[in-house]
């Protein structure tokens, strides 16, 4: 089948969206942006295509004829099994890369011992794979680095002690190797992975052999179906580095405007807070950008600011919002300067202010910056859509709601659970127009 793809190459994550011929979202993919944008782009695209195949499968008659109660279980096991196969492949790659790097001169004295550490650590890691991808497994994220990295190091540390290999050396080895693994595009082996996973998915299920066979056949069919990309449009912070022709690149402003419009057609004002910048966009009834403002040269108050704060507090960035929500009397923070954030934070902790209250104040300060930008772009009109990574942060949303109410009165605030895909969706919609041959001046 034919589809179009939109890719949003952000500073932190890269997102891709596949639209089918009717303009419906067929699949979504996301990966961390890493240093190599080409790879990030290819990985996100592959992920979106994988997701598309799952969705295609889900809509097949054979699957829809399965009892509703069983469907979710099958799909969940199928996807988990698939991820597990994918993960195992990446583990192999990582181990191979590590082994290869062992040949370096730094390991001349401990090569054999280090080889032993690797083998036993990877064996342990592999033995945990099934549990990790079980329905109850705790997975920090879907990115390979997050899933394998910290656990591998945890396992390695005692191993190193036992075999008298300096742990630092192995950490260095891991760092070097994971970059290599992340920076090459894994071969897409959808068919073999998914067929493997299907066995598990059907296990323990209540399906008879005939139905199971029908499902397998359908899955095979979907796996083999050719997905033709009629057009790919790229956007985002790193778009200039995409290997696309100029006419297939759109600014993220336009894409966010159109994407937000597609998600919430009544949108007139869009606020996007991403890793590197904040954008305030005004769109018309068709999602066409009327005016926009981006944060000035100073990145104060962007997503990255929260990253610094999280590092400073030794917390995960996703835990900041929940803690900030527990603020009783938020502290007034004057500086959203990323450079000074750490110092101000330490100052406040030193004088005994509660972490919750400081974080409450920090979230408000960050949203205050966004309010200024919104005012600069022409204010907040109804409806108002909030996108970007920070839109997932409840404390930021609460501060925004409060400030919007104080300054503009009642506004309908839209936040999509898929808000992180707004730019990619906009890009995909542009790709669709392009594919349909709509005359574009750009």
């Amino acid at each position: 089948m034919r589809g179009v793809i939109g890719i949003d190459l952000g500073s932190t994550t890269t997102k891709a969206i596949v639209l089918d011929e009717d303009g419906r979202v067929l699949g979504r993919g996301i990966t961390n942006s890493r240093s190599n944008y080409d790879v990030a782009c290819a990985v996100a695209r592959n992920e979106a295509l994988i997701d598309s195949r799952f969705n295609l499968f889900r809509s097949r008659a054979a699957f829809e004829s399965v009892a509703a109660g069983a469907r979710d279980g099958i799909m969940q096991r199928l996807e988990l099994g698939f991820r597990r196969e994918q993960y195992s492949g990446q583990l192999d790659d990582l181990q191979a890369a590590c082994t290869e790097h062992l040949t370096g001169p730094r390991f001349s004295k401990v090569r054999d011992a280090a080889q032993g550490v690797l083998e036993s650590s990877f064996a342990t890691l592999r033995s945990e794979t099934r549990a990790l991808f079980s329905e109850t497994g705790a997975r920090r994220s879907n990115f390979f680095r997050d899933l394998a990295g910290s656990r591998l190091l945890e396992i390695m540390e005692p191993c190193c002690r036992e075999r008298s290999v300096p742990f630092d050396l192995m950490m260095g080895l891991y760092d070097k190797s994971i970059i290599g693994v992340e920076n090459h595009v894994p071969e897409v082996t959808f068919e073999s992975n998914v067929m493997c996973a299907m066995g598990d998915a059907l296990e323990g299920g209540s399906l008879d052999d005939i139905r199971s066979a029908a499902l397998r056949a359908q899955l095979e069919d979907v796996a083999r179906e050719t997905l033709t990309e009629a057009c790919v449009v790229g956007t985002g912070y790193g778009r200039a580095r995409l290997p696309f022709p100029r006419e297939n690149i759109r600014s993220e402003i336009l894409c966010h405007g159109l994407g937000a419009h597609a998600m919430f057609p009544e949108t007139r004002t869009v606020l996007d807070i991403g890793g590197q910048d904040t954008k305030a966009i005004q769109v018309d009834a068709d999602g066409i950008v009327e005016s926009f403002q981006m944060n000035d040269r100073c990145a104060a108050g962007c997503g990255r600011y929260l990253g610094y704060i999280a590092d400073e507090m030794n917390m995960g960035v996703q835990d900041l919002g929940p803690m900030a929500l527990r603020a009783k009397t938020p502290v007034k923070i004057n500086s959203t300067c990323t450079v000074f954030a750490g110092a101000e934070l330490r100052d406040r902790l030193a004088i005994g202010q509660r972490r919750e209250d400081i974080l409450g104040g920090l979230h408000r300060a960050m949203i205050l910056r966004a309010m200024s930008l919104l005012a600069r772009s022409g204010g907040i009109r109804d409806e108002f859509t909030f996108t970007g990574g920070v839109a997932n942060n409840e404390a930021a949303v609460k501060a925004l709601e409060c400030l919007v109410q104080e300054n503009y009165g009642e506004r309908h605030l839209n936040i999509s659970p898929d808000s992180i895909y707004t730019g990619a969706l906009g890009a995909a919609l542009f790709a669709r127009r392009h594919a349909e041959g709509e005359k574009e001046v750009a």
Partner: protein
């Protein structure tokens, strides 16, 4: 509570009141009253007063005001004062003002006058372009017509002309005010533990929103009460603060300096109160009196051209000597062109004179005082050591 504490509390309430209730109340006391704002440095408040109006000092929003609209109008490399002024304008806190005067401090305040014209077209706006040529028949002549224009304009708003007698009377009242402030500064230098800078500051700030008559009473009362108080002398250093003439440091910063062991024995906060070292009043035309005072005895500051080579920093050095200070703290607002461009010249001069100094930047809403406390404390300790050898 002691009398001093009472007075200081009153002043602090005035300082913190961004609604300017005292000014609003003054306007409401009688029909047809007008209030005219002015930005830091110097404006001829005597003329506003002579027109029967209340001069209101607009010194920014301090560290309590949350900036939303103000930031929308200024890039990150512009100082903080205009943000809070615009915030106050757009929030309506300054809606009681019938006009505003903008002294020629720098390009930012100059352009702020134009922003006010665009944002508050209903009010009177005047850019007070003081002469940088101090010859009577050039700068003096120009300034006289400028002041006459202001007098005519304000007379027009008031609905009755400003008479020479009224202006003479106003000049006398402000001369009295300046005498009292000079006395305040002298007492602080003499007994800084009885007249701390945070209080001197607040008492001066009250003069930004009170009628001069009331402020004169207040300063007198404070001076009398402060001497009665029993407060211990500390082993502090004596410093002069330079560079804080426009955007104001937060009160907590001033307190931090004192806590860090510095007696501030002179400063350039609110220069409008001390612009002239002697009385302005003299026989004859009161406008001439203002012009002559401006040309001959305007206080040295970075916004005033220094016509003579080799004299840069001499006033500051003289001040350090007169106040028997141990050193200088150069405290300038971030992005303050006048203060920061002046600073290397002053530093060179004071260094040549063997006066120790330290420097930092702040903004009116600086929240991080710990580094300043450490810096000021270290400086204080080092200059005490220095002066004891």
């Amino acid at each position: 509570m002691s009398r001093v504490a009472d007075i200081v509390t009153t002043c602090e309430e005035l300082y913190e009141d961004l609604e300017f209730s005292a000014c609003r109340a003054w306007k409401e006391e009688a029909p047809g009253r007008h209030a005219i704002g002015y930005l830091p440095m110097w404006v001829p408040r005597e003329i506003i007063h002579a027109a029967g109006m209340l001069p209101v000092g607009i010194l920014g929003g301090g560290d309590k005001l949350e900036i939303i609209r103000g930031d929308a109008f200024f890039q990150s490399y512009i100082c903080h004062l205009p943000r809070s002024v615009i915030e106050l304008v757009l929030k309506g806190n300054l809606d009681f003002l019938d006009g505003c005067l903008f002294p020629s401090i720098c390009d930012i305040v100059r352009n702020l006058s134009g922003m006010w014209q665009l944002l508050r077209p209903d009010t009177y706006v005047r850019y007070v372009d003081v002469p940088q040529n101090f010859e009577p028949d050039r700068g003096g002549r120009f300034f006289r017509t400028e002041l006459r224009k202001l007098i005519d304009d304000l007379g027009g708003i008031a609905g009755r002309p400003v008479t020479d007698d009224a202006l003479k009377h106003s000049i006398e009242l402000y001369d009295e005010n300046r005498r009292l402030i000079r006395e305040l500064y002298d007492r602080r230098s003499a007994v800084p533990w009885l007249v701390p800078t945070s209080e001197v500051y607040l008492v001066q700030r009250a003069g930004m929103v009170l009628p001069v008559e009331a402020h004169n009473d207040l300063v007198r009362e404070y001076l009398a009460a402060a001497e009665m108080d029993d407060r211990p002398e500390r082993d502090n250093s004596r410093v002069v603060v330079s560079g804080a003439f426009c955007e104001q440091p937060p009160l907590d910063l001033i307190r931090t300096l004192e806590r860090a062991g510095c007696y501030v024995v002179d400063d350039d906060f609110m220069l409008v109160n001390r612009w002239f070292a002697q009385d302005v009043a003299r026989p004859g035309d009161p406008v001439d009196a203002l012009v002559t005072a401006f040309l001959e005895q305007g206080i040295a500051n970075p916004a005033r051209y220094e016509p003579h080579a080799g004299t840069k920093g001499q006033d500051l050095i003289e001040c350090v000597r007169r106040r028997d200070a141990d050193g200088i703290i150069f405290a300038a607002p971030s992005f303050c062109d006048p203060a920061l461009l002046e600073r290397p010249m002053l530093q060179k001069a004071v260094e040549a004179a063997g006066i120790p100094s330290t420097a930092f930047k702040y903004s009116e809403n600086t929240g991080q005082l710990q580094p300043i406390r450490e810096q000021a404390g270290t400086f204080s300790d080092s200059v005490k050591l220095w002066s004891s050898v």
